[in-house]
Structures are given as structure tokens and as C-alpha cells.
């Protein structure tokens, strides 16, 4: 079984209860259509488990086949510095069919972020090292495409349907409660 080599740290983008027994980690690409489909499924999974689950997103852009993947990730990381990571993450996935630079600036403006600062960050590739570090950490953990999920430290090998994900999470919750 493949396990996570880079443990979750405060440096990560974490949504939900810090002390949740379940961590669902996604290695995702903003331009990957499968990640776009998984986005809505993860929302439903989060809604089901509430405080029992925290969700973590790490960047895994396949930039040569998805020309907007990296700039989208840079935009979300920029927003993250201004405490708007999840708003931008969601905004990008909800508008995945019209990914473009104007969209990123439009979203930044909606979220009250400085578009001038965004432009500077994108031009200077300020957040590329962090994105690259997410990517390489993923590669070392055996991530081979997107979306790749980990449930706690174990690579999730099944399809990313709601039913399959909750079966895997329930099994993990059962194991945790029996161990306790």
C-alpha cells in the first residue's frame, strides 16, 4: 500500500476540524476535468462527515497538457496568503469551463484582493516554488495523476465516486474507533 511521504503540516491548506479523525487529502490540478467532477463529490463528502473530516488540497498541475493549471494554482496560492485560499479554490473549480487570466482577476476582485498584487505575483512566479514542492512531494508519494486521494496516510485506490469514497472513509472510521 502506498503511503503519504510528506505529512500534513500547518503549511498545508486545511479545511474543517483540525482534530478530525479523518483527513481526506487531494492532489489536484485546476484544469483537470476529473478534478472538476471530484470537486462536487468532495463537497458532498465534507457535508456528510462534518467535524469528523478535514480536507487538505495540494497542487499537482500537469502544466504541459493543462496550460492554465499552474497559473490557476499560483492564483489560489496568492489568495491563500490573503486568507482567501478556499474561496479562490472553489471559485476556480466552479468556473473550470472558462479558465483564463481574466477569470482569475475577476475572482480576485470579487474576493476583495488586489489585482495589481496578483499580477505582480503571477509575473514573478512568486508561488511557483511552493506549487513545485507540493508536486514533488506528491511524486515521491507515488501520485501518478489527478485527482489522487489519500485517506489519512493511505493512498485511496478506488474510483472517486461518492459511494466509493464514503465506503473507504467509513472503513477507516471503524478501524479508528475499534483501535481506540
Amino acid at each position: 500500500m502506498t503511503t503519504l511521504k510528506d505529512p500534513i503540516s500547518p503549511h498545508d491548506h486545511i479545511q474543517g476540524n483540525e482534530d478530525a479523525p479523518i483527513t481526506l487529502l487531494e492532489y489536484g490540478d485546476y484544469q483537470c476535468p476529473h478534478c472538476g467532477l471530484a470537486y462536487h463529490i468532495i463537497k458532498a463528502v465534507q457535508d456528510r462527515y462534518k467535524d469528523r473530516l478535514r480536507f487538505v488540497f495540494r497542487n499537482f498541475p500537469l502544466a504541459q497538457i493543462h496550460p492554465y493549471a499552474e497559473v490557476a494554482a499560483e492564483t489560489a496560492e496568492f489568495a491563500g496568503v490573503h486568507k482567501r485560499f478556499w474561496e479562490m479554490h472553489d471559485g476556480i473549480y466552479e468556473n473550470q469551463e472558462r479558465l483564463s487570466l481574466p477569470l482569475f482577476f475577476e475572482l480576485a476582485e470579487e474576493q476583495g484582493l488586489s489585482t495589481i498584487a496578483l499580477q505582480r505575483a503571477l509575473e514573478g512566479h512568486e508561488f511557483l516554488p511552493r506549487i513545485r514542492s507540493d508536486f514533488l512531494g506528491g511524486v515521491r508519494s507515488g501520485v501518478n495523476g489527478t485527482p489522487t486521494f489519500f485517506v489519512n496516510d493511505a493512498r485511496y485506490e478506488g474510483p472517486y465516486t461518492f459511494e466509493d469514497l464514503i465506503n473507504a472513509i467509513d472503513a477507516r472510521l471503524d478501524a479508528t474507533s475499534h483501535a481506540a
Binding site: 498541475p61 500537469l62 502544466a63 504541459q64 497538457i65 508536486f135 514533488l136 511524486v139 515521491r140 508519494s141 507515488g142 501520485v143 501518478n144 495523476g145
Partner: protein, 170 residues
């Protein structure tokens, strides 16, 4: 048939990487070489695997390693595939006689007529340092390759081992 294992001499090749250019293994002597055999251009898993290696390329390069993709597709097919996927590493055509090189590496699927999804890391002296056979439908990722390159670079730093290696500078 099993794929070639660590310690074996890596079979030499000279294959087309474009319709008018060839690449041989001996040309790459002196640096680690990663051979990725795969069933076919355009098939979905290969595409993902190629896209992944394309992105990981700078990491391979940190170890001074050269990545070469190999399938039974022709150089013309490779050219179209590489252009479509923006691939930044060479694809060699094991096309005529079909699969001859894959056979030498024990990585040919007779009943299918194409190569296995197999990975080889070859050391500076042309010996296989690491090999891995993946289930044909599974993208093996890049973690195994990176680990092998890492181990290979550690091995080379040992002075006693270094003394046993031929001196290419001479």
C-alpha cells in the same frame, strides 16, 4: 518472460527518435539512463504516464539522468504524439523489427504485440541498476525512478566503488 534485473548488462540499441535521427544507448554512456517501455502512444494510461514524466523531467535532470520512452510505434507516430503532448524527452521507435529491443529487455508482450509497461534505470557503465514491471494498465508513477536515481547517486559517492569504475576522462 521476466524483465532484465539489476546487474545485467543493458542491451545496446540504436533506434529512431525522429524520422531522420537515431539515438543509441552507448551515446548516453557516462550518465544514468531511464528507459520507460510502454504499450503505445495515445492510449490513455501511457498519456498520463508521459504527462507525469514530462513534468518530473527537471528532477531526473538533477541527477544528470536522460529519460527515453520506447514503444513499438513508428517515429512518425511518436512525433505526432510528442507534439500533441508537448513532450520534452525523446521517444524511441522499436518499430523494425517490431519490438526487437523490448524482447531483449524481457519487456515484450507476445500475445499483444506491444511492449510491457516496464522501467529501467541504467548506470553510467551501462549496467541495469533498477528495473520495475508495472501491470500494463497501471501508471507506475515516478517515485520508484527517483528513489533508484537517489540510491545510484549515493553509490557513486563511495570512493571504494568509484575506484572500480573505468575512468572515462582518460
Amino acid at each position: 518472460m521476466a524483465i532484465l534485473q539489476p546487474g545485467a548488462e543493458a542491451p545496446e540499441f540504436r533506434l529512431n527518435i525522429t524520422p531522420d535521427q537515431t539515438l543509441s544507448l552507448s551515446e548516453l554512456r557516462g550518465k544514468p539512463v531511464i528507459l520507460t517501455f510502454y504499450p503505445a502512444d495515445w492510449s490513455p494510461v501511457c498519456g498520463d504516464q508521459a504527462a507525469l514524466y514530462n513534468e518530473v523531467l527537471p528532477e531526473f535532470e538533477k541527477y544528470g539522468a536522460q529519460l527515453v520512452g520506447i514503444s513499438v510505434d513508428s517515429a512518425w507516430c511518436h512525433a505526432a504524439f510528442a507534439t500533441n503532448r508537448h513532450l520534452r524527452y525523446p521517444l524511441a521507435a522499436d518499430f523494425e523489427p517490431k519490438g526487437a529491443l523490448a524482447r531483449k529487455y524481457g519487456a515484450y508482450r507476445e500475445k499483444d504485440g506491444f511492449a510491457e509497461r516496464a522501467l529501467f534505470v541504467i548506470d553510467e557503465d551501462g549496467k541495469i541498476f533498477w528495473s520495475y514491471l508495472s501491470p500494463v494498465a497501471v501508471n507506475p508513477g515516478a517515485d520508484g525512478i527517483l528513489e533508484a536515481l537517489e540510491n545510484l547517486s549515493k553509490r557513486q559517492r563511495k570512493p571504494d566503488d568509484h575506484a572500480q569504475r573505468p575512468n572515462f576522462a582518460a
